[in-house]
Symmetry: C2
Subunit: 449 residues, 2 copies
């Protein structure tokens, strides 16, 4: 939280002390829901419920959605049945589902008991779709028209029913059996004549997603096509819900964070850093550190194997960190570029040879540049013999080429066989590249020196 929030927080606490509840209500009603939520989360426990009750019914629901699951749970436990009913039934269905997914079983039971039957049905509908699928992030509150309506009838419908729908800007045209046959934006409705028939003004080439589609693919579609919502259909093209762009933004940010965490050998969590306890951070990090520590045993074994060579020409050991470091950096440059391309749908399996061919050219250029710079440095600064400088530089060039080749190939291959490319990233590739670079180095040293 920033300094401004801290100032407001102090103000709010003072107002609570002075029991100026009317002022508090006025102040909070001028704020946007996410700001009210951030503020309430900074307020000590027993006063949250007090402040929350001051919010208007509509604002209360919007603020509730923006809060962290643990604060939501505290509030729910403090609600009377009628208070809970009021908040829950004011929520959009997809938000209600998000909240329910984070709550313990007994709280979920209480929430569902206070939910209107129609809404409960929609919630259960969404809950049955697998995590990370389009079905799990959709909402079932959308506007649909029959194709025979006129524009003025449609606008009248919209004005009557639109308040409850999450987005009214994309309206879907369905036949009997809920089969999706077209889409009409409010923009097109407003621009059309009152007597036009929906069937004549609707867009028939509808881009839709399937309930089972991966939510990351859905988010990429938003970026590609620039739409505000996508209809979600089942396997028989029946409209079952819509995904809106605000959910897509959350997915894009979460997926990028997950990729970044995996590349840095962290098990992804969906909590913000400051809200994650030290113990949870330890749990997310320690398995990878242990695994990587054990796998670096390989490099240790290789060095031990060549102990005598090392002891004889002591100078060689000094270049191990440089070789391994440069190899690791080269490999992760390639792997990270490819992993990001895979995530953004820019690279597919059929592009593998193009990627490898590109990386071979890049790595040869990088290898030559680095080896040349290193050779000059070894001769002029370190003043080692020409043969040592040659061995180190040659090993460096070969390491860079190998590292980039391994780095670009592994993520594509691992995606093909169903593993997560980001998990294969920097740390694993580094371990492999480390071993290879040492073997190359000692091989050249043993035949050339």
């Amino acid at each position: 939280m920033g300094e401004i929030t801290a100032t407001i927080e102090k103000m709010i606490l003072t107002l609570i002390e002075e029991r100026k509840f009317a002022t508090l209500r006025d102040v909070m009603n001028t704020m946007a829901p996410p700001d009210v939520a951030a503020l309430l989360e900074e307020i000590p426990g027993e006063r949250i419920s007090l402040l929350f009750r001051l919010l208007s019914k509509e604002l209360a629901a919007e603020v509730f959605v923006e809060m962290d699951a643990d604060v939501q749970e505290i509030l729910i436990r403090g609600f009377s049945d009628s208070e809970l009913r009021e908040v829950v039934n004011e929520l959009y269905v997809d938000d209600a589902v998000d909240i329910i997914e984070e709550m313990p079983a007994n709280v979920v039971k209480r929430i569902l008991k206070q939910t209107d039957p129609e809404m409960r049905k929609m919630i259960n509908e969404i809950l049955k779709y697998p995590d990370d699928s389009a079905g799990s992030i959709m909402t079932t509150e959308y506007v649909s028209f029959k194709p025979d309506l006129t524009v003025s009838e449609a606008i009248k419908n919209l004005r009557r029913s639109g308040v409850d729908k999450e987005t009214i800007y994309s309206c879907y045209v369905t036949e009997k059996d809920r089969k999706l046959i077209g889409i009409v934006t409010v923009r097109r409705l407003l621009m059309a004549d009152d007597d036009d028939c929906i069937r004549d003004i609707m867009e028939e080439n509808v881009l839709s997603v399937n309930t089972e589609d991966d939510r990351e693919d859905v988010a990429n579609k938003f970026a590609k096509y620039g739409l505000l919502a996508f209809p979600v259909v089942d396997s028989e093209n029946r409209l079952v819900g819509i995904v809106t762009i605000d959910d897509a933004i959350d997915v894009i940010r979460e997926e990028a964070t997950e990729d970044i965490e995996k590349m840095a050998a962290i098990t992804p969590t969906d909590k913000p850093y400051l809200k994650t306890s030290a113990f949870e951070l330890w749990k997310a990090r320690i398995p990878w550190l242990l695994l990587l520590m054990l796998s670096s045993t390989f490099t240790g074994i290789i060095i031990t194997q060549f102990e005598s060579a090392l002891a004889a020409t002591g100078v060689l050991a000094a270049y191990i960190p440089m070789l391994m470091g440069t190899g690791g950096n080269s490999g992760s440059q390639a792997s990270v570029a490819v992993i990001r391309g895979l995530s953004l749908d820019e690279i597919e399996f059929c592009d593998m040879f193009r990627v490898q061919w590109k990386e071979i050219r890049v790595s040869v250029m990088c290898g030559i540049t680095l080896a040349a710079a290193n050779f000059v440095k070894l001769l002029l600064l370190d003043r080692v013999g020409t043969s040592v400088a040659f061995v180190v530089s040659l090993a460096l060039a070969v390491t860079v080429v190998t590292a980039k080749f391994v780095g670009c190939s592994l993520p594509i291959l691992s995606k093909k066989i169903g593993f997560d490319p980001a998990v294969m990233a920097s740390p694993f590739i580094t371990t492999i590249v480390d071993s290879i670079s040492l073997l190359i180095y000692f091989y050249f040293a043993s035949i050339l020196l």
Copy 2:
């Protein structure tokens, strides 16, 4: 490009061969603009212009926007003046600016010459804002109302003028001098009574951004507040444009990619991987590799300094890769988590001590776990002496704590003094941590062995 696109591409090429232009037109008109653009980009040079001329005027502009700058340039060079005029004046202003920014000077001159005077004025308006600012990604085509309009007049206005505006769903209310005083969504307009006055139904607490704001901060606001557009105001709260959510999505993806590239020691480019030439990739990667190679000289110097200690107890060298690797991984776990938190506005400078205190606790837990596992492994598997196992494990624990502390502090500090936190990430921190871990290791070895 996927397999499906390859099939369509073959179909299109066959249709061109057979000169079935009517069929081609029909086929392309069923496709979404980004798909037509992707298709055209796969078609050999001289035929692009041929196919492009088959598109309807409206589709042509939408397709043009989605193409890569180099293909756009080829098309423009092939356009007659009247063709160019038709495409350019059909574009949204912000898209026109994006295109102009990528073109060489002589092409820009030709484009501006064919642009309507009013549009040219708007383009020049946007071009004057610095890169990466809210002003540079905004559009000046928005809907604004005077506060005294009634709802029915406003809807009438909208129906007359809305076609040219990029988004009509957020309408802004301005006083004389273009001062922004409120916002009305189309949803609220439709739900209100015909005779209501705009002033009475508008939302007065308007969230806006400033022309000079960083575009990443603007994108974070979209994620936080879930709005479809933000008004952009100058320092005197005069409305100058709007930023729409589709641009925010592009920014979120680009900024995440930039962060990832910087963490992997790559100079960010905004081209997709497969469209970047090997030479450009080399240019983006080699400076960092050279810099990091030279900086790893430090670790080489340290090893050389302790050459005699190494030669005496040869076993010690075998654990250098494990120590440096684990230190590097521990440090980048911390730095990457903090850098991502900074990008998402979850962590600010005033949180530094909270972050450091959290990392100290996490690192002590990680350090103890790793040292214990390592100690047992050294005794049972490697069968080294207790004192060697103790030295290695102690150095490991101290390295992990140091690495995480350096890793979490450097990004926050570098952001505070105005450097990019992501540039300070993994590779730099690794170099620092490598040196420190070696010094710790040799220090413990020299006093304890």
